[in-house]
Amino acid sequence: MLNFILLIFIYIGIFGIAAIGLNLIVGYTGMLSLCQAAFLGIGAYSTAILMTTANINFWMAFIISGLIAALCGILIGIPTLRLRGDYLAIATLGFGEIVKNIIINWDNMTKGPMGINGIPGLKLLNFTFTSLDKLPWTLIIWIFVAIAYYIVRRIVRSRIGRALEAIREDEIAASSMGINTAKYKIGAFTLGAFFAGLAGSLFAAYNQSVAPNTFDFMMSITILCMIVLGGLGNNAATIVGAILIVVSSELPRLLGISNIIPPQLNQVLFGFILVFMMIYRPQGIIGRIKLNYAKIIKEEILHLEK
């Protein structure tokens, strides 16, 4: 039972990192992206391929996976950044499908629908952690959750965050205030993709295997639901959203009634939560916390009114 709870925490952590990245894109910058799962997939497959065929150790593969995902973020960001709202959503959706199909069909690289198995365990000092060593994995993953949280917090509380907020509010006005909106949008998109790549890498290394169908459109939607349910533009809420969604999808197993109720009921429960939330609390469980930048500068930089 403890192992199962740790497993849930591992998944909350992995999806939490990806969701924090997506929150930067959707919550703070206001670009609706539906391809976060694709970046997770890119990160996961990069790690899987690097660790099995190139014999690179996990930590190198981890960084490289993040960078590859970030590079893909730039590549998709440049042509789509001029689109907004629904159009950007559709374009990113298309990108997600492209990535999934490349993974399925690039046989000699990704082994197609079979997926990649036998990824070596994580070596740290003299230990090797496999999927069975849940406690160390939980700790490692949550350290990265904390790092991602801290980085995004620092960004959104700085003048960069202020610029992102201005872009979300009114892009045309922002550009006529001398803000290079393209630069900021690509930057946010790329960093979001980077975090998703890292999350994917952790996902692959923890499971020691990857399969293409994991990273489908449904996963992008699940991650999006995490940030919407928690509250857009609020990282703590993002984690709450991740907890809510992972726990609710594992609830029957957690209660030990998974053999009584059919697995489809999960989806029903999930749908019910969404409908209920959108009617009664559309801003999310916690909701957005508006940062007051004047106050931040006063307290942190001018050291006034402590």
Binding site: R159, A163, A166, I172, S175, M177, T181
Partner: protein, 260 residues
Amino acid sequence: MPLLYTQDLRREFGGVVAVSDVNIEIDKDSITGLIGPNGAGKTTLFNTITGLDYPTSGYVFFNGRDITPMPAYQITRIGIARTFQNIRLFKEMTAFENVMIGRHFRANHPFITKYRALNFILGRIYVHKEEKDIYENSLKWMDFFNLLEYRDEYARNLPYGKQRELEIARALATEPEVIFLDEPAAGMNPQETEELMATIKRIRGLGITVVLIEHDMKLVMNICDKIIVLNYGRKIAEGTPGHIQNNKEVIEAYLGKTDE
């Protein structure tokens, strides 16, 4: 040489010629009014000059430099600010933050722009300098418009007239050489218009050139040094207020031709 001038500026939307080979000259430290009936192409002209729209053909020169191909944010950075006809404030941000965004790019510390990689590691001091600069200058502009009492109010909660002023404050925070005001008096009552006229004169007093689109003839005739009249995308007249008031073509554009 004029501070800003256009050369056969033209903007077509499909078959519609919104701006048709317009040549205008804006002199330094002047207040220029741009008038014309609805749909005459005034806002399109503003948009093509400030980079929010691009011309089909023609050029815009600013300080002797061709700025036609520049994107909007670069045009703002070299000293051309603007406001919008339908107020475009960052509504969910506070009044103060709106002005801070205007100051955003001016605060780039030369050290930071030059050594970006280094700054990543030891940039804290400079980041603090930038933020301090933004804070103090924004405060200055808020004060210039007597908006300090609304500092922490969301922009959307400000009274209409104050929103217009805040938008001008935000544009001025970019420290422009020339500011384009798109119908600044729209929706204002006579008293607010009166105050606005005083404000525009104060802005000119700072050494900033003003170009404005306005339908309020009292305002235009009172404060403009030069008036340019557009109709159907073409410039039909140009001159001092007195000259424009007696121009036959202008009267026809506004009131229609008399049947003789």
